[in-house]
Symmetry: C2
Subunit: 205 residues, 2 copies
């Protein structure tokens, strides 16, 4: 079986990453979500083991010490990290594993998983970004303005990403990400064996 692809999805707060990922998971059977460990408090509706593994700071530090995380980072005062065992198992079963993490963590992932596909999702414009944060209604205006002011920081390092996908309509964004994964699995360096086999077998035909 071909190994799956590790897909790292980042993007501005309000870019719609969560919705895009839900749609990928529901429309395509060969995607799974990497569940992160975090020390941040659950939001309304979030469940331990579904959105995140919610950990105390002590528990998280113990995972770091035991080398059980692919990467981890601090963000707005909380730890976030990717448990290693789950990712390896899913990839070996041919599943494409989606990680939603910040650029800082993503670039660390790329060092360990050379074939990881780094995707940055962006709304089509700054105005649209603000509108989405306001319409989400989960944060007050001060928090939203603080997030918008962080956008420059959130995009630092994006030039090292493989793909930048505009989330204008959700259907197209999801389709484009799936196209990226199909393309990546057809890259020639993954397929040269097939050509060698054919050349070899043609000698006896």
């Amino acid at each position: 079986m071909n190994s799956g692809k590790l897909i790292v999805i980042s993007g501005f707060s309000g870019a719609g990453k969560g919705t895009v990922i839900k749609r990928l998971l529901s429309e395509y059977p060969n995607y799974v979500l990497s569940i992160s460990a975090t020390t941040r408090k659950p939001r309304a509706g979030e469940e331990h083991g579904r959105e995140y593994f919610f950990k105390t700071v002590d528990e998280f530090k113990s995972m770091i010490d035991n080398n059980e995380l692919v990467e981890y980072a601090q963000y707005v005062g909380n730890y976030y990290g990717t448990p290693k065992e789950y990712v390896d198992k899913q990839l070996s079963e041919g599943k494409n594993v989606i990680l939603e993490i910040e650029i800082q963590g993503a670039l660390n992932i790329k060092k360990q998983f050379k074939d990881a596909v780094l995707v940055f999702i962006t709304p089509p414009s700054a105005t649209e970004l603000k509108n989405r944060l306001v319409n989400r209604g989960t944060e007050d205006l001060d928090t939203i303005m603080a997030r918008l002011r962080r956008a420059e920081e959130e995009a630092a390092g994006v030039e090292n990403y493989d793909y930048i996908i505009i989330n204008d309509t959700i259907d197209k964004c999801v389709f484009d990400i799936n196209s990226v994964i199909i393309a990546e699995s057809n890259k020639s360096n993954n397929k040269l064996d097939i050509i060698e086999d054919i050349k070899e077998n043609l000698k006896d035909i």
Copy 2:
């Protein structure tokens, strides 16, 4: 408007390139075929200006002298080349332009069009390759065996291609090629301007 992509399609004789290209053109409105100039004789059903521009050797040499070809090559005693003007015009109108050429010509194309996407199409196995040539019924067995013996030569340089796509079922092959083109147009180096615009506009929001 975004510029289209130049897609170079190569592959073993009998890989099904012609059928794949016809399907791409009929299923997606944003693909056009680059019509090559050639000095080979028309096959049954081929029309000047549709499959090829059929040229005499003198006419072809004059196109070379006037620098009207993106690339040209000799293959089984005939000249094949790509008229430049048509390609440039279609790309600037946002069309994806398909070229079907040999590897030798494709690598020359890549030197001039850095963004050209090189795709090699292969049947899943040597046996399948032979079966397709036999079933096509356009050539006698001696010619087919000569083609098969040329397969090694036909694949020389394929490690420089961007993608290798297996034509097992035609539907999947066509879908995969379109996915490759969508992915290529979402590569981050084509999209960094959008991120810069958003960062800039957020300062005034």
